[in-house]
C-alpha cells in the first residue's frame, strides 16, 4: 500500500459544485494516486467570491474558481508533476499579480483567525480531525483542573464580549447564570443568524461545529447546567446537519453525556429548529421559540440568566463566542486580552459584501480601521472606484463616511459614530451607490422583519419607509428630514428589543453624514450617485460614442438605436434605466444626469 503524502482540501461546495469531490476521486483513481492523495471536504475559507477554492497540502498551494473540468489538469500538473497551475491561482485585485501560496495571499496574511481557526483546514464531519488539532483538550482541562468559578474568572479576565451583536461581557453573563437560583439551568447556543448579508455563524457551524460544542459544554460547566439547546433556523440545512453530526459523535466518544472525561460532570444537549427570521436571534424571542412558541421578544426587566426558557435560569451565547472559549482556556486569558482594543478584546469576524473585491469572511483584531478593512483585507473597491461609505452592523447598522476611514473600529467607537459592531456584517458602497436608496432598502427589510409587537417599531418604520420612498422618487420635502429624525428617535427609544432600538440607524446615520445627498434628492430632484431611477436619465455623449454597437446589443429593452460607426441614441420612452449601457461602454460615452 502506498503511504499518504498530500491532501486536497476543497471548500465552498454546497450547491455550487457538489461534483468537484467525485471528480477528484475519479481522477486520482485513474492516475493511480488513491491513498497517496486524499480529498477532504473542508468548510468555508472566507474567499466566497472566488469559490470553489482548494488548498493542496503540504505545499500550501491555493486555487480559486475551480471547476470539475480543471480536475485532470490539476492532478497531472500539481499532484503528479509538482507544478503550479497559474491560471487558477489567486490574483491580486489591483495588480493582477498571481499568488500561488495560501500563506502569501494578503487577504489571509492580514487576518488573525481565532474563531475561524479551523475553518477550511479540517474535515468538519470528523471528530477525529478536531481531536487531532487539539480539540476537547480545553474541556478536559476545565473539567479536571478548574472549578466553575475559575473558568468564569478566566473568561472575565480575557475581556471576551458576546459576539452576537450586543457585546455583553461573557464572563459576567456566566457569573449571573451561576449565581441564579432555580433548577434546572440551561445553556443555549444562538445559531440564528438573521442579518441578510451575514454568513459567519453558518460558515462556522458548517466548518468547525465541535469548537462550538466544546465551548457550550465549558459554559454549562461554568454556570452549572446539565442540559442545553442549540437553536438553528431549519432553513440553514448545512448548519443543522453539521451540528447534529458533531453532537452524535461527541456523544459516542463520551464527551457529551454522563461523567464527562471521568469528572463526574453530566451534560447533554439537543438541537432545536426554528423558522428563520431577523428577530429570531433576539434572546427572549429565541427562548420563546425553544419553548415552541412564536419567536417574539418580551421585556427584559428580569434577565434571561435568571428566568429564561420555561422560566428557568438560561444562559445564551452566540456560536462565535462559544468557539472562542476553548482557545481562552488553553492559551490563557492574558493571551486573548492582548489582542484588540482597551474595551473590545480579541478579534471580530467581518462578513464583507457590496462593492469590495474580496467578498467573503475575514477575521481581524478589534480596532482595525475602516481603511485597513476595506483596502488591505478587502482588496479595495472593484474597478478602482471611490469609497463612499461603509455600512456596518447588519441591516440596522449605521453608515460611516470617508472622513472616518481611519477610525479604529470597536464596540464603543462604532456606537459613538452612530453605527454598531453588531455581528460584523459589512456592506461597502462606492460612488455609484446611492446612500439614500440603500438606507431605504434596509428599512424595507426591517419593516418586513419587525414582529409587530411594539407600535413604535411596527408603525414607525413603516412611516419612515414611506418618507424615504418619496424622497427617492423625487417627491420629498425638506420638512421630511426633520420628521425622519423625530420618528427615528421615537422608534429607538420606545421599542422593546434590539430590532426596533437599532432600526432607524441606517436613516439617522445617513442623515448625519450624507445630508447633502438627501437635499439633492429633495431640492434638485437629482440623485448624485445616478441610481435612483425616478431621478435619472441615461444618454449617450455624441462626441465620445464610436458607434461600436455594444450598448445596442446589450440593452434588454432594445431602447438604443444607431448604425455601426455612427452615434447611438437612447429612446427615453423605452429605457428602464437598468444601467447596462453605462456599465458596458468602453469609451465612457454613456452619461447619467
Amino acid at each position: 500500500m502506498v503511504e499518504h503524502r498530500a491532501d486536497i482540501l476543497v471548500s465552498c461546495l454546497h450547491d455550487r459544485c457538489p461534483e468537484l469531490i467525485p471528480a477528484f476521486e475519479e481522477e486520482l483513481e485513474r492516475r493511480g494516486l488513491t491513498g497517496e492523495v486524499t480529498v477532504v471536504e473542508a468548510g468555508c475559507r472566507g474567499l466566497c467570491a472566488m469559490g470553489p477554492v482548494l488548498l493542496i497540502e503540504p505545499d500550501g498551494l491555493f486555487y480559486t474558481h475551480v471547476d470539475p473540468a480543471d480536475v485532470p489538469e490539476l492532478v497531472e500538473e500539481t499532484l503528479i508533476k509538482g507544478r503550479v497551475v497559474e491560471r487558477l491561482t489567486y490574483k491580486e485585485p489591483e495588480t493582477h499579480r498571481s499568488v500561488c501560496r495560501y500563506e502569501d495571499i494578503p487577504f489571509y496574511t492580514k487576518q488573525q483567525r481565532i474563531v475561524l481557526r479551523h475553518c477550511g483546514l479540517i474535515d468538519p464531519a470528523s471528530i477525529d480531525e478536531y481531536i487531532a488539532v487539539g480539540g476537547y483538550q480545553a474541556l478536559g482541562q476545565a473539567l479536571t483542573s478548574m472549578t466553575p468559578e475559575e473558568v468564569i474568572e478566566e473568561v472575565k479576565a480575557s475581556g471576551l464580549r458576546g459576539r452576537g451583536g450586543a457585546g455583553f461581557p461573557t464572563g459576567r453573563k456566566w457569573e449571573a447564570g451561576r449565581k441564579a437560583r432555580g433548577e434546572p439551568k440551561y445553556v443555549l447556543v444562538n445559531g440564528d443568524e438573521g442579518d441578510p448579508n451575514c454568513f459567519m455563524d453558518r460558515a462556522l457551524m458548517e466548518a468547525d461545529p465541535h469548537s462550538i460544542l466544546e465551548g457550550m459544554i465549558i459554559a454549562a460547566y461554568a454556570v452549572g447546567a446539565h442540559r442545553g439547546f442549540i437553536y438553528i433556523p431549519y432553513e440553514h440545512a448545512g448548519s443543522v446537519r453539521s451540528m447534529k453530526n458533531a453532537l452524535e459523535q461527541a456523544r459516542e466518544y463520551g464527551l457529551v453525556g454522563e461523567d464527562i472525561l471521568g469528572s463526574g460532570f453530566d451534560f447533554d444537549a439537543e438541537i432545536r429548529l426554528g423558522a428563520h427570521s431577523f428577530v429570531g436571534g433576539e434572546s427572549t424571542a429565541l427562548m420563546h421559540a425553544v419553548e415552541g412558541h412564536v419567536s417574539e421578544p418580551r421585556p427584559k426587566h428580569v434577565h434571561t440568566t435568571d428566568s429564561g426558557v420555561w422560566d428557568k435560569p438560561s444562559c445564551l451565547n452566540n456560536v462565535k463566542t462559544l468557539s472562542i472559549v476553548p482557545e481562552i482556556i488553553t492559551r490563557g486569558a492574558g493571551w486573548f486580552a492582548c489582542i484588540g482594543t482597551e474595551t473590545s478584546k480579541g478579534t471580530q469576524v467581518f462578513s464583507l459584501a457590496g462593492k469590495i473585491n474580496n467578498v467573503g469572511l475575514a477575521e481581524v483584531p478589534m480596532g482595525i480601521t475602516v481603511r485597513e478593512l476595506v483596502y488591505d483585507v478587502g482588496g479595495g473597491i472593484p474597478k478602482g472606484r471611490e469609497f463612499k461609505a461603509l455600512q456596518i452592523g447588519g441591516p440596522s447598522g449605521g453608515f460611516l463616511p470617508p472622513s472616518l476611514l481611519d477610525m479604529p473600529m470597536d464596540y464603543e467607537t462604532l456606537a459613538d459614530a452612530g453605527s454598531m459592531m453588531g455581528t460584523g456584517g459589512v456592506v461597502v458602497l462606492d460612488d455609484r451607490t446611492c446612500v439614500v436608496d440603500t438606507a431605504r432598502y434596509f428599512l424595507d427589510f426591517l419593516r418586513d422583519e419587525s414582529c409587530g409587537k411594539c407600535t413604535s417599531c411596527r408603525e414607525g418604520i413603516r412611516r419612515m419607509l414611506e418618507i424615504m420612498t418619496r424622497i427617492t422618487k423625487g417627491q420629498g420635502q425638506m420638512a421630511d428630514l426633520e420628521m425622519l429624525e423625530t420618528l427615528g428617535q421615537v422608534v429607538k427609544k420606545v421599542s422593546l428589543c434590539g430590532l426596533g432600538k437599532t432600526a432607524p440607524n441606517p436613516v439617522l446615520s445617513t442623515l448625519r453624514y450624507f445630508r447633502d445627498e438627501y437635499v439633492a434628492h429633495i431640492e434638485d430632484k437629482s440623485c448624485p450617485a445616478g441610481t435612483c431611477k425616478a431621478l435619472i436619465q441615461y444618454y449617450i455623449l455624441p462626441e465620445a460614442c464610436t458607434g461600436c454597437t455594444l450598448c445596442l446589443r446589450k440593452c434588454p429593452q432594445n431602447a438604443i438605436s444607431g448604425a455601426k460607426k455612427e452615434v447611438h441614441v437612447i429612446d427615453q420612452t423605452l429605457c428602464i434605466k437598468c444601467g447596462v449601457c453605462y456599465d458596458v461602454c468602453r469609451f465612457d460615452a454613456v452619461a447619467v444626469r
Binding site: 502506498v2 483546514l121 476537547y136 483538550q137 478536559g140 472525561l261 471521568g262
Partner: protein, 123 residues
C-alpha cells in the same frame, strides 16, 4: 468507538490521530522529489514511494512533496532535503535502493552523504 473516559485517554487519542493530519501540520523537514517528465521517466515516482514507505516505517515526521524539472535532467531522479534553516541539499541519481541509507544518514544521523550531492542552496 469506546468512550474517552479521562483527559489522559483524550491526550493519547490525540497523539494517535495527529499522524493522519501530518500533511497539514508544521514540520521541520521537507523532502522534495523532481517530478518533471525527465524525473518520472528516470523512476522518480518509485523513489517517492520508497521515501514514503521508509518514513512511515521509521515514524519520521516529514513532508514529501514534488516539483517540476529544474534543468538537471541527466541526474534525475533528483531529491532535495530541507531541514529547518539548514541549506537545502540536492541529491542526484537516487534509486529506491538508495533511499534507506539516505533517510538513515541524512535524517536520522544528520550527516549529508557527500558523494551523492549534486547541489546545495542556502536557506
Amino acid at each position: 468507538m469506546p468512550k474517552v473516559k479521562s483527559l489522559e485517554e483524550l491526550q493519547k487519542l490525540r497523539q494517535q490521530l495527529q499522524g493522519d493530519l501530518r500533511t497539514r501540520a508544521e514540520v521541520s523537514t521537507t523532502i522534495t522529489i523532481g517530478m518533471g517528465t525527465c524525473g518520472i521517466a528516470a523512476g522518480a515516482r518509485e523513489v517517492m514511494h520508497a521515501v514514503l514507505a521508509e518514513l512511515d516505517a521509521r515514524g519520521i515526521e516529514a513532508h514529501v512533496t514534488t516539483t517540476g524539472c529544474i534543468g538537471m535532467c541527466s541526474k534525475e531522479p533528483l531529491l532535495d532535503i530541507q531541514q529547518g534553516d539548514e541549506p537545502r541539499i540536492t541529491y542526484g541519481n537516487i534509486t529506491p535502493a538508495k533511499v534507506p541509507r539516505l533517510i538513515e544518514e541524512h535524517l536520522v544521523q544528520g550527516q549529508v552523504i557527500e558523494e551523492w550531492v549534486v547541489g546545495r542552496v542556502a536557506a
